[in-house]
Symmetry: C2
Amino acid sequence: MPLDIEEFRKAGYKAIDRICDYYYSLHAKPVVSQVQPGYLREALPENAPEHGEDFDNVQDDYQKLIVPGLTHWQHPSFFAYFPTACTFEGILGDLYASSTSNPGFNWACSPACTELEAVVMDWTAKLLGLNPEFYNTSGRGGGVMMTSASDSALTAIVAARSRFIRLNPTIPLNNLVIYVTSQTHSLGLKAGLVLGLQVRVLDVKEEDAFALRGESLRTVIEEDREKGKRPFILVVTVGSTSSGAIDRIDEAGHVLKEYPDIWLHVDAAWAGMTLVCPEFRERAQLEAINEYATSFCTNFHKWGLVNFDASTLWVRDRTLLTDALDITPEFLRTKHGDEGTVIDYRNWHLGLGRRFRSLKVWFVLRSYGAEGFRGYIRKCISLNNQFASYIRDSPDFAFVTQPSFALTVFRLEPKMPEPLSLQSLNSLNRIFYSRLSARHDVLLTQTQLNGVFCIRLAVGAARTDDTHIKHAYDVMVEEALVAINTWRETLPAATD
Amino acid sequence: MPLDIEEFRKAGYKAIDRICDYYYSLHAKPVVSQVQPGYLREALPENAPEHGEDFDNVQDDYQKLIVPGLTHWQHPSFFAYFPTACTFEGILGDLYASSTSNPGFNWACSPACTELEAVVMDWTAKLLGLNPEFYNTSGRGGGVMMTSASDSALTAIVAARSRFIRLNPTIPLNNLVIYVTSQTHSLGLKAGLVLGLQVRVLDVKEEDAFALRGESLRTVIEEDREKGKRPFILVVTVGSTSSGAIDRIDEAGHVLKEYPDIWLHVDAAWAGMTLVCPEFRERAQLEAINEYATSFCTNFHKWGLVNFDASTLWVRDRTLLTDALDITPEFLRTKHGDEGTVIDYRNWHLGLGRRFRSLKVWFVLRSYGAEGFRGYIRKCISLNNQFASYIRDSPDFAFVTQPSFALTVFRLEPKMPEPLSLQSLNSLNRIFYSRLSARHDVLLTQTQLNGVFCIRLAVGAARTDDTHIKHAYDVMVEEALVAINTWRETLPAATD
């Protein structure tokens, strides 16, 4: 039976209590879910119930059936992928937003949604040190909240293609090329699939710490243009997923000055958050971003204390979005929209309906303050430095690249009488990682860098402290020992 | 200062209490926000605070600054656009989902998210009466939850283009055409902009109740193919935004049997919910959907009691999505994914990260039961019938098309000695609508149908009852009187 208001009050209190219980007990849970594929289908009926059930039972089933199937991204020993932020302030922001369910696609349909987003995007632009040209108050540039960095990048690529075609109306779509590097997030290749456009993956080198350099960009552009191919956007990264690599935006931006119809999109989904701290701005290339980026994206829902989803995208010229995406049918026309006195965010992104996402960002920023926000970023980086020092001092582990902010990429590289081949090291590390990933008390992810199989540890959960870092390292030492023995047993007799 | 667990408990209780207050007082609030553009920027500081603030103040500011800027989509007198569902069960499902912040992009990263979505998509498929070929248990077709109907349609169009190109590798992108009708939601034109592809807008006629007919589809296909243009997807609608029109899917499907490389996407974003009631299935063309649709979308977040976002998309063949969208970089590889024993939903949609949306659908279906869900749909349609009967009996109003489910499209058409021209009626109705939209106690939206300016009333808020329908009609009668007088004053003297 549907809940009435007083039943909702009781059920709501209970939900809040259970979330409190969850966070009190989180550290004691296995970080990785131990369920098997199909566990839930077996536990649930084949059909929705014909008659409504008591909501107490429903809430109890959440505890009984769903929680055991969760891998706990907020667990202090979660070091996999990149973190997803989750704060109590973010949860409450989302709760209020859900409670009125306003799609906020234009100003008129719920003014507060647009107004708060426009303000919060300026607050965050300032917090990150972005050029005032990106502020909404500039009247020319501006910021908008998206679902994910994939969504932000896809939107930027669509706007870039639209601008390119306006500038070069006779060039067929089949000749257009998106540029990414081998370290760009899969969002680049996926955007190519979505848009049906070619993607060229630019090589980057280990000696450049996997960063795109200006000269190789120039060579590739010239090569492609000679063949009649036309790059129209370059996606560069601040803090790549595999290794935290930072492309040389200064060099790339300088090259692109000669090719003004190529859009420069900066994907700083994860590491963009470091820009809140002045001491990291140089390393994260703020100056070059501010000088050269056509668009810039970072995700507050990754390392920025705001619950998924809260991807922030800024452009230096908002008409590049609206020229590409504005469709205003009669049923969406409004007085203020027609007058152009307000932002209609639906013309800044791909869909129409949208969540009231800025509310949770506003809640988090006010409760933490800029100071508290910076303190959290610094704490994560300091914990990663602790982990990196263990790796540096270990006889058995080695960095594959230098640690980047709160990410360390390493592998097992035990001292041997003869140096091991790449192939041998890769097979050893695959064994090591498969042991690590069978553990339920710590979670890390694998990656590969130019053929080198390696393991990533990313710090970001709010409850991680030095004991969890130490525990993760101890687990690795323990599993490394077993992995080395297992690996030795698999070697052909000849190498004994 | 960030909230600790006990502070969160207190703040959470307060938020729940305030949501209760909101729903107790909702009917007494103006439905339309009365703020002016820029009201919030004036009220807020230019920067995020340097030091964290007391969260009580933040929550108080939500009440003081945000609530007055909301247009209340859950208000019983909200009849604009289409409804956005909001139930207490949906709010609580979202609350639990926010509280763990799991992105759920593949099975392994949080198994419960994928498992529940796969089950819930089958529950809803059965509730709607879809062909078992669309169930996830079929192993071939399947269902996935998306952000919006725009997102669902865009995904279908991308998959359709990908299939078409595999079948016809030599046809250049510039020759591909998306088919929509003049009554298709703007998602069709927007997808064309996003993908850089041509869109052909097929005409529909008033005498066909604005439905696409098979013969006109056939004529257009033949015409285009003769010119070398190649339609690869047709988007048909069950319940168009402007008038609730229902395309003749039976006829269109029959024609498309001769063109098997054209994908048939059914957008039933709003009216798809009527399929839960057996008595509406014929009108909503269930049989033709089940026979012909390549993909089918409806939004539980519109008229389906589930908070935004919860767009459901089914395909008859899941490999059409994964062939178009699967990219699996090393850092996303998992044991179960490699074995193909689980669904990795990230390969079924455009982005990577995603919310745990199925939880709220599960909560709603269990609490309402199928029976309660049907009761709600029937109540809305019955309230719209009440409104339609006022229009039918009125000397001053007339239907522009026949009422469709819970939507009535009408205009002011006062008895006059001489019949009024279309232009005169349009200008009268614009005056009438501008008066209506200046009211704060009721909200409707405008549209136009083949040149006829008209007004839409859509029923859907959970708290709407017969008194609100009566009130809406009374307001219209009152404003019509003034509008007719105003309009008379604007007429040139010659017609006096």
